[in-house]
């Protein structure tokens, strides 16, 4: 397997608090990797450091063989890494179509020409909200807003998508629809890394899981193995069953 994104010894301190204490993680081309962990384990910080929202205290992030450690947030999408936020998914005062137009306009730096959804209309169609194109994003129901957030990240034509709790706040039907979309990405040349603590979702989506606890990786491997790992069970259930 080829690592498309290689994280080595990543540390992040906020003052005296250690959010990440030397994490190694490789995301392979064409896989859907899940990163799980209890609240405060450093999942979102991991994303924020990779995507340039925060500068790491130490460690490196290598993207397709190139060192991208600490590059500014707005240059990440140009390199082909798309990401979605837990909150703040869209531009509320603009229409759904305008939202996606903005996202496509600024993806010029991205090198991918062979992209499955080349236009804003195609993207809205794919996530299934083209009927809402003229509505202001601010009035969308939560489920549609999540889908719009996904369309915006896709509009930057990524080769890797980082999804931060993509199913938070969704009902079972909406979650299943989202899973259906995400599962199509590898076939279109988009590797995926999902963070969430919803184990049901992770089992549906990911063949491989990495587990974070207190800013350190405590397990990494095939989903079934990780779910039976002694340390993981301790973290999640406070001990063996």
């Amino acid at each position: 397997m080829n690592a498309i994104l290689d994280i080595k010894g990543l540390r992040k301190h906020f003052g005296g608090v250690t959010a990440l204490s030397g994490v190694d993680l490789a995301i392979n081309e064409g896989e859907i990797l899940g990163v799980v962990g209890p609240n405060g384990s450093g999942k979102t910080t991991l994303f924020n450091v990779v995507t340039g929202v925060h500068k790491p205290t130490a460690g490196t992030v290598t993207w397709k063989g190139k060192d991208i450690t600490g590059i500014p947030a707005n240059q990440i999408s140009g390199n082909g890494i798309g990401y979605t936020f837990q909150q703040a998914m869209a531009f509320p005062g603009l229409t759904v179509l305008e939202n996606v137009q903005i996202a496509t306009e600024h993806s010029a730096a991205s090198t991918r020409t062979d992209f499955a959804w080349p236009t804003p209309a195609a993207l809205l169609d794919f996530v299934g909200i083209s009927g809402l194109a003229r509505e202001k994003a601010g009035i969308l129901p939560f489920g549609s807003l999540r889908l719009l957030g996904l369309a915006l990240a896709l509009a930057t034509r990524p080769s890797l998508l980082l999804l931060d709790e993509p199913a938070a706040g969704l009902n079972d039907r909406e979650t299943a629809a989202l899973v259906g979309l995400v599962q199509q990405f590898p076939a279109h040349g988009i590797s995926v890394c999902v963070i969430d603590h919803d184990m049901k979702l992770m089992q549906m989506l990911c063949k491989r899981l990495a587990v974070l606890d207190f800013g350190a990786k405590i397990a990494d491997g095939p989903t079934a193995d990780v779910l039976h790992d002694k340390k993981v069970l301790e973290v999640y259930l406070g001990g063996e069953l």
Binding site: I102, A121, L152
Partner: protein, 344 residues
Amino acid sequence: MEVYEHDRSNTMIKSVSSLRSLAPVLIVLLLLALVPLFSPSNRFLSLAISAGINIIALYGLSVLFGQTGILSMGHAALVGVGAYTAALLARDFDIGFWVSIPVAGIMAAIVAAIIGIPSLRVSGHHFVIMTFAFGQLLTIILTNGGDFTGAASGLDMGKPVTMFGADLDALPRFYLLVVAFVTVSAVASWAIIHSSYGRTLRAIRENEKLAAALGIDVGRHKIGAFIVSGVFAGVSGVLLAYFLRHISPGQFASFPSIYLALMVMIGGARLLLGPLAGGILVSFLPEVLNLDPVQSRILYGACLIAVILFLPNGVIAGIADGWTWLVRMSKRRPAAGNVSEVGR
């Protein structure tokens, strides 16, 4: 396929609706251009000219505040850069009005960049305080500039505005000149708002974090918007220098800056009629109500509080919302009694 059709019709609707937003402004300005025909008093024309000069700067502020969501509390300083550029060019190089316009625009843009690059590293309230401080700093520089800036007493503008050999100094002519410049500013502001650049600025206003995630260089665009608003301010300053014939540092200090911010908030920054309404209201209200300067400051304060509380998007947006509400109410009533409608 259907989606693409939808897309195309949507952009068509958009271009029509964007023209629709420009039309009322052009009509109002056309009507205002007819004012000299009714032989208004000099007092009225002077007020109207000052209002117009402010409105030019307000169109720049509407790009900055309305589209990008950045409030500048030192904008009069950039107007001052334009005014002093014009006065110095006239005094030291015998350069007249028409050349001063682009030169002052560029000078104000440069100063905006100098202010913007350090200030826009911080955001929100901190930026407001930074612009306020820079505004004060400019006043101090101008006051201590010795003979070059005329110190506290300022500079005289010795040249008239001429066009095709004709002197535009008479108030009605100068008024028309200002209306023409307001029109250009309004159209320029409209063009920015309806371009993809304008959309990028709105994206930053709506969600900075997401804008950056989608590849928008947020910092660069914020500075860009500040520079654009500076150009408007610089042009406004040239007109001010040629109108007042004498400029001094106090005219570009904190109070005028606060007035500009007040006008853009009262009129509303997001709609094209907003700066026009704000500029006219704030300039003429004390006159119409016959208030002295102290009373009018109290009135401005009260107005600002009222606008923030009741019409957060300004007077024009408030009127537009009221109108939509009325239309909806009047439509609802007959529909309720209509049997065939109910049957559907």
